[in-house]
């Protein structure tokens, strides 16, 4: 920090700002890797289905917003959201199987904002929240204020189920909550009813509330059954975070919510805590709140069914193509719109990490994907987004095949081969690398 007598002005950013890193955004906005100029860039990075316009918001949402604009006075609203909007969300959420009312709903500026509020209401700096690995970058909201994230493993050999022993081993007396992401990003996991009950059993034993990241709720492929965590919880209080972002294909609208599923009145103080924090006044746009009842009531089930079917077709296509590539093992998702692909590093001695693999893929084949280590805290994998147009997806898979064939080496054929330990390069090192590139 600068000396006040110094003649120079050189202002540093706070630790909070330095530690609030969104690795996906950082990668997309600051990457210095130059794609192959001879090949059209194929981007399978950000989880934004609207980018190529092949997935779109429902027309009913536009009508609802237009109608809301006619009546809108753009006034300040209660800090937890306009009552009619909260009532509509309560009805919508109750359909998942656990009854809630308008007082159990808080409207927020998107799923990220919902999660942030839940983290901050429960945990002090130095305390911890359990998050899965691989997972979405929850750290972006945790590390800034000094909340510790402890990770529990998901098992790629068992449809990304939670390793329950590992989960339990991570709990200590500073643990404040368990975050569960079902349906999940980046894995596309969909937990069975029994598995959710097993997770709940652990939470109950340790008296830990669950923060349920439900932004991909109901986004499961035909034939797969979906259960919301709250609907199966008898005793464990659940804070469920969701919104319009993914299911309604409107990430830019910044409209999310928290539904409070209390048990045994354990969340009484938490409710007060939310009310206080909402006084900061960072809530969602008033017009969208006014439009929300109409959006939730009028968008037909067929919109969701068609979206999911289309994504499933993409998933099956990509899985079939990638499965045949030597040195790669794709893990078939059961929902959401992502797929994780394992890199068998023993067959690619040139690359020491998923980041190096993915960077070379961009340089040689102009295919952009997110590496598992820096982006999802899971080394040795990369993630594809499945909502790009089908022909783009197919072409990306073909280019990956060419890339892998070029670099693939059979272990037995390599002279003086020494197996490369798949380096568990820490997130911080990866981030430092990216930061050095920026500064």
């Amino acid at each position: 920090m600068p000396n006040i007598i110094s003649a120079d002005w050189k202002l540093e950013m706070s630790t909070f700002a330095r530690q609030t890193v969104n690795p996906h955004r950082l990668m997309v906005e600051t990457s210095k890797v130059v794609p192959n100029p001879k090949k059209k860039v194929l981007t399978l990075q950000l989880g934004d289905p609207t980018i190529f316009k092949n997935f779109q918001h429902p027309p009913e949402a536009i009508d609802a917003i237009k109608n809301a604009l006619v009546k809108d006075s753009f006034s300040y609203y209660p800090t937890n959201g306009i009552k009619e909007a909260r009532e509509a969300v309560a009805d919508y959420v109750s359909k998942n199987g656990d009854q809630v009312n308008a007082d159990d709903i808080i409207l927020t500026s998107g799923g990220s904002s919902s999660l942030e509020l839940c983290f901050y209401v429960l945990a002090n700096p130095g305390e911890n929240i359990l998050i899965p690995t691989p997972s979405f970058n929850y750290r972006t909201w945790l590390h800034g204020p000094g909340i510790i994230s402890k990770t529990y493993k998901l098992d790629p050999t068992k449809n990304w189920c939670v390793d329950l022993k590992d989960l339990e081993s991570k709990i200590d007396n500073k643990t404040r909550a368990i975050l569960v992401n079902n349906v999940g990003n980046p894995c596309g996991n969909v937990f069975t009813k029994e598995h959710i009950l097993d997770i709940l059993e652990i939470a109950e034993r340790y008296r830990l509330p669950i923060i349920s990241d439900d932004i991909y709720e109901h986004f499961v492929f035909p034939g797969v059954e979906y259960y919301s965590v709250a609907s199966l919880s008898k005793n464990v209080p659940i804070l469920s975070c969701s919104g319009l972002t993914k299911r309604f294909i409107m990430p830019g609208i910044r409209m999310g919510w928290i539904s409070i599923h209390d048990r045994h009145d354990a969340l009484k103080e938490i409710r007060k805590g939310f009310t206080q924090m909402l006084g900061r006044n960072f809530g969602p746009n008033c017009t969208v709140q006014k439009a929300l009842p109409e959006i939730l009531q009028n968008v037909p089930q067929t919109f969701f069914d068609e979206t999911v079917k289309k994504v499933q077709l993409h998933a099956m296509t990509a899985f079939k193509l990638l499965k045949n590539i030597k040195g790669l093992i794709p893990i078939e998702p059961r929902g959401a719109f992502y797929m994780m692909i394992k890199i068998e590093f023993e067959n690619f001695p040139k690359f020491k990490s998923d980041l190096e693999f993915v960077e070379a893929l961009t340089e040689e084949e102009s295919v952009k994907a997110f590496p598992g280590g820096p982006c999802f805290d899971f080394a040795g994998y990369f993630r594809f987004v499945l909502t790009v147009p089908l022909d783009m997806l197919i072409e990306a898979c073909q280019r990956i095949q060419e890339f892998c064939e070029r670099h693939y080496m059979n272990i037995n054929e390599i002279e003086n081969f020494e197996p490369v330990q798949t380096q568990e390069i820490s997130i911080q090192n990866q981030i430092n690398k990216i930061e050095i590139a920026i500064y």
Binding site: W9, L11, Y76, N124, R263, D265, G273, F282
Partner: protein
């Protein structure tokens, strides 16, 4: 582990984040007089009575945007075209480009981002007294706030000696609100230059809350702080809420006025923290260029005339009331009125005074403590209708005449 589910305790951050204004309005336990229609002069929301509608250009822009918006994720610090439009709109502050703009979910959010990027917990920032409730998002993260006096005898100018006495090696920035809430202060050019000299001496950047930019009464000159700054780096926060009369729209911004490249790291820090909410609503971002470019100057002039009239009216009426001393505002949309508590021995604080005012006369105002961290005053909002101002002042007069002791 305990066998029962006990009440899960909240974090310090949640416990310490208190918005005194929302606390009063949403948890008000004081019952107004049922025989008198309530007149509320509390929340700074000009839309409540329909007498201050937003500009047609804004409605049109949003309608156009809704048809064209595909609701994508945008850059977390805002879409390029929107930032460019804000840079152009803000050129009275100094020449900036789209690169110097960060969009936020309202001006409060913009201010929070600035302070959190500059300051760590345990360090301190200077805030004015009286002032808007910046503490709501500072107390929670344990950033110490040190309040410098504004002088009611000198149009609420900053007491610069007092400000200087608060600075130490842990001070990270000075928050300045001009034009201001709750006082309606509008600093002169000379006063701003004096303030900048002090900031330069101590190498402290200024976080300028200019949500009421241009909100000055006829005859008063307005200067944005950054427009007068040669060497002091300024982060200026503003937005649509007040000037365009749309507080619920949640569209604000930070303009980074760098000097000598001292804010290059801070700019990256602001972009980092913008990733928490991932930017304001895409439709409003889409509409923003049209809103900023198509709203006619006449809209703003008419609005200020109306508020200035209300200010004159209220000041004239309240100035005659024994025991009260209104301080004439020079801009924004509020007025502070001193309560000479020694003349009202029944009431030990402005809070008690204002609560009784509700009970007897159904007139709702904010007490300066706890709302603005300043004792002995009350604040009224000047955007209610003319009739309501008149009636409210008449009832306040009746109330004071009932309780005053000479």
């Amino acid at each position: 582990m305990s066998r029962n589910w006990v009440k899960i305790k909240i974090s310090d951050y949640a416990r310490l984040s208190v918005n005194p204004l929302r606390k009063i309005t949403q948890e008000q336990k004081v019952e107004p007089n049922p025989l008198k229609r309530s007149i509320t002069l509390q929340l700074g929301d000009p839309t409540i009575f329909g007498n201050f509608p937003p500009p047609i250009s804004l409605i049109n822009a949003l309608n156009n945007a809704v048809h064209r918006d595909k609701f994508p994720y945008n850059l977390s610090y805002g879409k390029y075209e929107s930032r460019k439009a804000v840079a152009e709109y803000s050129k009275h502050q100094g020449l900036v480009t789209a690169d110097d703009v960060i969009l936020a979910s309202g001006c409060s959010h913009a201010m929070e981002m600035c302070v959190l990027t500059l300051t760590a917990s345990g360090e301190n920032v200077l805030i004015p007294k009286p002032c808007y409730n910046y503490k709501t998002w500072l107390d929670g993260v344990k950033i110490e706030t040190r309040a410098y006096n504004l002088n009611p005898e000198q149009s609420w100018n900053i007491d610069l000696k007092d400000m200087e006495s608060l600075i130490d090696e842990k001070t990270r920035c000075i928050i300045v609100n001009n034009p201001g809430n709750p006082c309606g202060n509008v600093f002169s050019k000379d006063h701003i230059i004096d303030l900048l000299a002090l900031a330069e001496k101590h190498k402290l950047p200024i976080v300028a809350d200019e949500i009421y930019e241009h909100f000055v009464f006829p005859g008063i000159e307005y200067h944005s702080i950054s427009s007068l700054s040669k060497t002091v780096p300024i982060l200026t926060c503003s937005g649509l809420s007040k000037r365009f009369l749309v507080p619920g729209i949640r569209m604000g911004w930070i303009i980074i006025h760098d000097r000598n490249d001292s804010l290059s790291e801070v700019k990256q820090g602001l972009r980092n923290v913008s990733a928490r909410i991932l930017g304001p609503n895409s439709t409003v971002q889409y509409a923003l260029p049209e809103i900023l470019q198509n709203t006619q100057q006449q809209f703003f002039v008419n609005k200020m005339m109306k508020i200035a009239c209300n200010a004159e009216l209220a000041y004239g009426l309240l100035n005659q009331i024994p025991g009260l001393k209104p301080i004439k505002p020079r801009g924004s949309m509020y007025m502070m009125i001193k309560i000479e508590l020694e003349k009202f021995p029944e009431f030990k604080s402005c809070m008690e005074f204002t609560q009784q005012l509700i009970r007897e006369q159904s007139v709702l105002v904010f007490p300066s403590y706890p709302c603005f961290n300043y004792p002995g005053f009350m604040r009224i909002v000047l955007t209610v209708t003319n009739d309501m101002i008149e009636e409210a002042c008449a009832r306040i007069k009746e109330f004071c005449e009932t309780h005053v002791v000479n």
